[in-house]
């Protein structure tokens, strides 16, 4: 797609908004529709769009394959670790009461940490799957 000017310019214009929307969906998940799952998928869709228009090598420069594959287990680890602090302070596993004194505040923090684990896993898994398929195509 080297000479497809409209696609290239259009992608460059729309890409920041896709990524910004993903961040918004992630952090606004407490108050509106959204959350880690949707945000992760939208982020990954942005990277995939970039890869399809500008080529795989250009996409690897903004989302290096090694980093993406490292993030796949990191997300699960963040999620699993979010439950641990409570266990040392008279709470059960994945009880977020430990993250603050006010009930609502503590649980909002807990949900945000957990959703961060989710967004990392979903984003990196989707991009890693795309890289795997696209690499296979190039032989």
């Amino acid at each position: 797609m080297k000479f497809d000017l409209i696609l290239r310019v259009g992608t460059k214009m729309i890409l920041p908004f896709i990524l910004l929307f993903a961040i918004y969906v992630h952090f606004h998940g407490d108050y509106g529709p959204g959350g880690g799952f949707q945000a992760g998928v939208i982020l990954a869709a942005g990277i995939i769009l970039y890869a399809m228009v500008f080529g795989l090598d250009a996409a690897r420069r903004i989302a290096p394959q090694g980093l993406v594959e490292l993030l796949v287990p990191t997300g699960v680890a963040v999620f699993a670790a979010a439950g641990l602090p409570g266990m040392f302070k008279d709470f059960r596993y994945l009880d977020y009461g430990v993250y603050g004194h006010d009930f609502l505040h503590a649980h909002e923090w807990g949900i945000l940490i957990v959703e961060t684990g989710v967004i990392i896993t979903v984003f990196s898994t989707m991009v890693a799957i795309f890289y795997a398929f696209a690499d296979r195509g190039r032989g």
Binding site: L104, G110, G139
Partner: protein, 189 residues
């Protein structure tokens, strides 16, 4: 009449797209139809108040799965050959299953009734927590991240496992290049 006309229209279109998917022999067409199907499904989900789910379905079903399916077709070819098997037995199995399932729907509660059993269990409690300002206003996020955090941890692990599986299957060296002479001599269809 509790189902709106627009919902019936969308559901009918879903059924029509499904028939088109069955009849379409070109896999590229099948994938695009599956994308249309996902958007229609997301619209239906908005009508039945599942806004979070609709957002996910629109981005996952029409976005990521279309890309992955197209990537596979690019690797395998996009023509579906007519099956040599007769299609009467599958049709019969499908018809019997469908008939039995429809018979099973008759005792189900009416659509949209507040008194049905599903609204009596834990859901009122979840809603009450958010109404009392103990939880974030979006109840879906609260249930997903907090009340049912164990579920979500499991689901995240499944996604992780599937991703690792894809990488294991596709990151290795291609064997076909090595054995090209052998398989070409055997003659592929």
């Amino acid at each position: 009449m509790t189902i709106s006309l627009i919902q019936m229209a969308l559901l009918t279109m879903l059924a029509a797209v499904t028939v088109a998917i069955i009849r379409q022999r070109n896999l590229f067409g099948v994938v695009i139809l599956a994308g249309i199907y996902s958007f229609l499904m997301a619209s239906v989900m908005i009508l039945i108040d599942a806004v979070d789910v609709a957002m996910t379905e629109a981005s996952v079903g029409a976005g990521i799965s279309t890309v992955v399916l197209l990537a596979t077709i690019a690797l395998t070819g996009s023509k579906e050959y007519p099956s040599v098997r007769r299609s009467l037995v599958p049709l019969f199995v499908a018809a019997v299953t469908g008939g039995a399932l429809i018979w099973g729907t008759f005792p189900l509660p009416r659509f949209g009734v507040q008194e049905s059993a599903i609204h009596m269990h834990v859901a009122p409690e979840y809603l009450q927590h958010s109404k009392d300002h103990k939880m974030p206003p979006n109840v879906v996020t609260a249930v997903l991240g907090d009340f049912r955090g164990y579920d979500t941890l499991g689901e995240t692990t499944v996604i992780f496992t599937a991703g690792i599986g894809v990488m294991l299957l596709l990151r290795g060296r291609r064997r076909r290049l090595k054995e090209n002479g052998k398989s070409a001599g055997k003659g592929t269809a």
